[in-house]
């Protein structure tokens, strides 16, 4: 039998053929938090941006952290062009050289003509990022189930006698440790000072130990509302906008306890060594200009970073914005603290969780 050598060669060649996945010009991948957040951004930012510039936006979801970003940049395989990161990750990633530097002054002026660096009341996120909004980690429960007997203050989250049942927290040390300390009597202003000490960290973990058996951990921003809706947990930590959205879209009656809220700024960064950095910068400029910011804040109650955008926010979301004056304790996350202690606390948190 004569072997068909050309055929063999073709099979051999095909097996060696590299996977070709070149991205079309004028297209960027924007990675953010999924769920209601990405749905609103698709309508208020991605779509108008694509119509205006012709640059196609491919949305991707992730659950925060620098790991996936670090892996992409370090292996030289950058798939995400623009990512929405939390402020401490913006600081750390910038220091680690994962992001392009962005000058806040190069952002467009506000709709009323105020230069960008003064219009951004929240300031710069880091030398690399531009703030898109400030959200708040709040405690929430289902008022349809608990009626008037719902939790009123942060201490109630740790009170398993009066409020039996599972409670959910995000599977990161942030918020969990701040809440533990505040519920243990630490004043909001001292939280990060106490948490910097070994004794303070031990105290926070000890407080968490008291409810450990009743804790469920979530990773994606859409999960807390699902956990509340299915009755799996009696209360949960949650991004405040998700509760607003679940009540509006899912016809739920979830209630927020603002006491103990932990506010976190987040914003856009451009990954280093990406293939579309120019288009990515165009996107960041557009996404953080007055009009899209105001439109987004009308749909999701996250505080816009520009004074000019905040002035345009009206309607039902306004009273749900996290940074309104309210009774109850509030902490603004300390980016520098998390930049310095994040690795160690993550390690300790992982070990604590596994026990």
């Amino acid at each position: 039998m004569n072997m068909n050598l050309p055929l063999v060669a073709v099979i051999l060649g095909a097996s060696l053929l590299p996977v070709v996945g070149a991205q079309a010009q004028g297209s960027i991948t924007v990675t953010a938090w999924g769920g209601a957040y990405s749905r609103v951004q698709t309508e208020t930012i991605y779509r108008p941006f694509s119509e205006k510039t012709g640059i196609k936006v491919t949305p991707e979801d992730y659950n925060g952290g620098l790991a996936e970003i670090g892996a992409q940049v370090q292996t030289g395989n950058v798939k995400w062009d623009v990512v929405n990161v939390e402020v401490f990750d913006a600081v750390k990633g910038c220091e680690e050289g994962l992001f392009e530097r962005i000058d806040l002054k190069s952002m467009p002026a506000g709709s009323d003509g105020t230069p960008a660096d003064r219009d951004f009341t929240a300031g710069a996120m880091s030398p690399c990022g531009v703030i898109s909004e400030t959200y708040s980690n709040v405690m929430a429960y289902d008022a349809a189930r608990l009626k008037d007997n719902g939790p009123k203050k942060l201490e109630d989250f740790f009170d398993v006698k009066r409020f039996p049942g599972k409670r959910a927290l995000r599977k990161v040390p942030g918020v969990a440790l701040e809440w533990a300390l505040m519920a243990d009597g630490v004043a909001p202003a001292d939280v990060y000072k106490v948490l910097s000490t070994a004794a303070g960290q031990a105290r926070a973990f000890k407080k968490l130990d008291t409810i450990k058996a009743d804790l469920v951990w979530w990773t994606a921003g859409a999960q807390p509302a699902q956990l509340l809706a299915s009755g799996e947990v009696v209360m949960t930590s949650v991004y405040n906008g998700r509760i607003y959205d679940a009540n509006l879209q899912g016809k739920r009656n979830f209630a927020i306890v603002w006491d103990g809220q932990v506010q976190v700024a987040e914003g856009w960064v451009i990954l280093k060594n990406g293939k579309n950095t120019k288009a990515a910068l165009e996107f960041v400029k557009y996404a953080t200009s007055t009009q899209p910011l105001a439109e987004q804040a009308k749909r999701l109650p996250y505080a816009p970073p520009r004074a000019s955008a905040l002035a345009k926010v009206d309607g039902p979301t306004k009273q749900w914005l996290p940074n309104l004056p309210r009774p109850g304790r509030a902490v603004v996350t300390d980016a520098e603290f998390w930049n310095e202690n994040g690795d160690d606390l993550n390690k300790r948190f992982a070990a604590w969780l596994a026990k």
């Binding site: 804790l215 951990w217 799996e232 390690k347």
Partner: protein, 435 residues
């Protein structure tokens, strides 16, 4: 290979003929020629065979051997710090002081030069993160010195470092730096076993609040063994039923076994969430008939993990047992009975020993697959029920400690190989039947 045989015979039968009909004594040249031609033909046959399987071979190399060797390599090869601080290590070697002493000025000067270079190349944060894996807080200590290093032109450097962070005057800091001197080391294996190198260079246990992995290894083996035993118990009964029922019933049962087997793992796990959750199907039913007054906690705990994993892995136990049982002639048990054995004796002494290869194969298969389970415990288990693959993934994707993840992977691989070896010694791999 079968296509080569005629060619081979052809060449060997023709050659003597070409040497002439009178058969002169075969000279050395003729012999050599014959041998060469024979070798060439053989070689061509081999090449063809290899070309045919080349796609598969390349696939196995690229998708299996290469990642596996990289994994093993990464578990001990760790050049970030030694190549990032070359001058420092040179100066440390020249100084050569004891571990409980702080080095002298030349070492600090070398460190300053290394830091400036690392900052220029954008590698400083990478080195700091690697140091931090060995000792908490070292990232901060290192980065504090890096941030202001360019503002200082020249030494003395010791006061500069002491000024930015007093930890630079601690022998412990320097001991940690010295522990990382080699590009190839066993530190990742130490941390995978909750051990570390102390400032004196001895191997000691991690502080209590940082110990995880030994417990997780034990837990992983425990859950896998439990699931393997449950699969053996349920699987044996089902396989017996399959092998001894009538054709129609057996076919129907087989479909019931295979259908979930072909369904996506994720779908089956999610189905268990629907069944087991607090207001899920089972709890609502039990509450409805008044059997319980409070919903039972069946998810986010070991119970949920064991139930879901047993269900998902059951076909891997059933199929090998079934294939072995079907080949056992029914006449054997009948013969035992006719010779006076009770049904129990006939089953235990005649039937069961013949099932052994299938049972062993099924249990081993389930145990090995269970060792690497990830998605099911992650979805239906609590934080305290996660198995070793969860922590490997966690180190790969969140903590970005690839060395530790690799070391843990190598340990799991070693455990599986050990198990396979033990199985071979006890039962014999040739006796294993997978269906």
């Amino acid at each position: 290979m079968s296509s080569d045989a005629p060619a081979l015979i052809e060449s060997t039968t023709i050659d003597p003929a070409s040497g002439g009909g009178s058969l002169p004594p075969p000279g050395p040249s003729l012999n050599d020629d014959l041998r060469r031609r024979l070798r060439r033909t053989e070689w061509r046959g081999h090449l063809r065979a290899y070309l045919l399987i080349a796609p598969l071979l390349i696939f196995v190399l690229v998708s299996f051997v290469l990642p596996l060797s990289t994994l093993v390599y990464k578990s001990f090869h760790d050049p970030v710090v030694p190549t990032g601080l070359p001058l420092t290590y040179k100066a440390l070697r020249e100084w050569g002081g004891p571990r409980d002493e702080v080095p002298t000025e030349p070492v600090y000067a070398a460190l300053a030069n290394d830091m400036k270079a690392a900052k220029r190349d954008g590698r400083a944060a990478e080195i700091a993160s690697r140091l931090n894996i060995e000792a908490s807080g070292l990232r901060t200590t290192f980065m504090r010195a890096v941030r202001r290093i360019d503002s200082v032109e020249s030494g003395p450097w010791k006061p500069y470092f002491a000024g930015v962070d007093p930890a630079w005057e601690s022998p412990t800091t320097w001991a940690t730096v010295r522990n990382l001197a080699d590009t190839n080391h066993g530190l990742f294996f130490l941390s995978a076993l909750d051990l570390r190198k102390s400032s004196q260079g001895d191997v000691v246990r991690q502080p209590a609040e940082q110990r995880i992995y030994v417990e997780v290894f034990i837990r992983t083996i425990g859950i896998s063994a439990l699931v393997a035993l449950l699969c053996m118990a349920f699987g044996f009964a089902i396989a017996y039923l399959l092998a001894h029922a009538g054709d129609r019933t057996a076919n129907l049962l087989m479909i019931l076994v295979l259908l979930p087997f072909w369904t996506s793992l994720l779908v089956r796990t999610t189905a268990w969430i629907v069944l087991l959750q607090k207001e899920g199907v089972i709890n609502s039913m039990l509450l409805g008939i008044g059997a319980i007054s409070q919903p039972l906690p069946m998810m986010y705990n070991k119970f949920g993990v064991a139930v879901a994993m047993t269900h998902i892995l059951l076909p891997f136990a059933i199929l090998p047992m079934y294939s072995v049982m079907r080949q056992i002639p029914p006449s054997f048990v009948r013969a035992a009975r006719s010779l006076g054995a009770s049904p129990t004796t006939a089953f235990l002494r005649v039937y069961l020993p013949q099932c052994a290869p299938g049972v062993a194969a099924g249990v081993l298969l389930v145990f090995i697959i269970a060792l690497g389970y990830y998605i099911t415990p992650a979805l239906v288990g609590g934080a305290g029920d996660q198995m070793i693959s969860y922590f490997i993934a966690d180190n790969l994707t969140r903590a970005l400690n690839w060395g530790l993840a690799s070391a843990m992977g190598v340990l799991v691989l070693a455990a599986v190989l050990l198990l396979y070896w033990a199985y071979d010694k006890l039962v014999g791999v040739t006796n294993m039947r997978l269906g």
